[in-house]
């Protein structure tokens, strides 16, 4: 039997969905406040830089960005099939490569802070 990578991508999807359910609305709200011209203290440069400089902040940002990306990638793969796009292998390659690239990029950014 060929080994399937489904358990891995599915668990990332489920973990990301749960994290997004608890955290995405409030995080979007923080950015909405910034868009309205009154960013919360955390989104000021000095505060956010200090947060991202701490190991806990780094871990938090990495987990949030990576899991949101992998959640979206896996669900988008299934949803594009539902929208009538049946080239699953190509779709899977694109969405997972974007998620992996985003994960690596966020690590790179965090190491530079």
């Amino acid at each position: 039997m060929t080994k399937s990578n489904k358990p891995i991508v599915w668990s990332l999807f489920a973990a990301g969905g749960t994290l997004a359910a608890f955290l995405a609305p409030v995080l979007v709200l923080l950015f909405l406040l910034a868009a309205l011209g009154r960013p919360p203290l955390l989104l000021h440069y000095s505060q956010l830089h200090a947060f991202a400089a701490h190991w806990f902040g780094k871990l938090f940002l990495l987990v949030v960005i990576a899991l949101f990306l992998w959640h979206a990638a896996h669900r988008l793969r299934v949803t594009l099939h539902d929208f009538g796009l049946r080239q699953d292998t190509a779709v899977a390659a694109v969405v997972y490569v974007v998620a992996a690239a985003g994960t690596l990029l966020s690590m790179l950014y965090l190491l530079r802070i």
Partner: protein, 130 residues
């Protein structure tokens, strides 16, 4: 196989308009587009943060404006839809058994909503949004 098989005409691209429940299913699935877009916005913010103060502050300035507000409101709507639809199926995803019986689903859902509210308020408080 019969010589005249019955082939039901189903549109590959528009089938979910046939029934409200299909449309509700799709509304849950498309939340991922907005979660993904928000993750990319976070990634962008992190990239600008790593480039220094000037770069990050020009990002914050570019974030202001009616189009960002509109876009983020739409993202917020779908993020909340993801949260509520996610929590509403938790009794099916992880039923809690106590002895012979199962804990009624409403308690599992209510517990998730309670944690969601506490977490959201804690983040707003810690982020200095008030």
């Amino acid at each position: 196989m019969s010589r005249k098989p019955f082939v039901r005409e189903v549109s590959k691209t528009g089938w979910y308009f046939k029934q409200p429940r299909y449309l509700r299913y799709m509304s849950r699935e498309v939340t991922c587009i907005f979660i993904g877009a928000f993750a990319l916005l976070l990634l962008c913010a992190l990239g600008r943060l790593s480039e220094g103060q000037a770069s990050y502050e020009s990002f914050l300035a570019a974030l202001q404006g009616p189009w960002s507000i509109f876009g983020l409101l739409v993202v917020l709507l779908f993020a909340v839809h993801n949260a509520t639809s996610w929590f509403n199926v938790t009794p099916k995803a992880m039923p809690v058994q106590i002895g012979e019986d199962f804990l009624p689903g409403k308690y599992i859902v209510a517990a998730h909503y309670a944690v969601w509210i506490v977490v959201s308020l804690a983040v707003l408080l810690l982020a200095g949004a008030f």
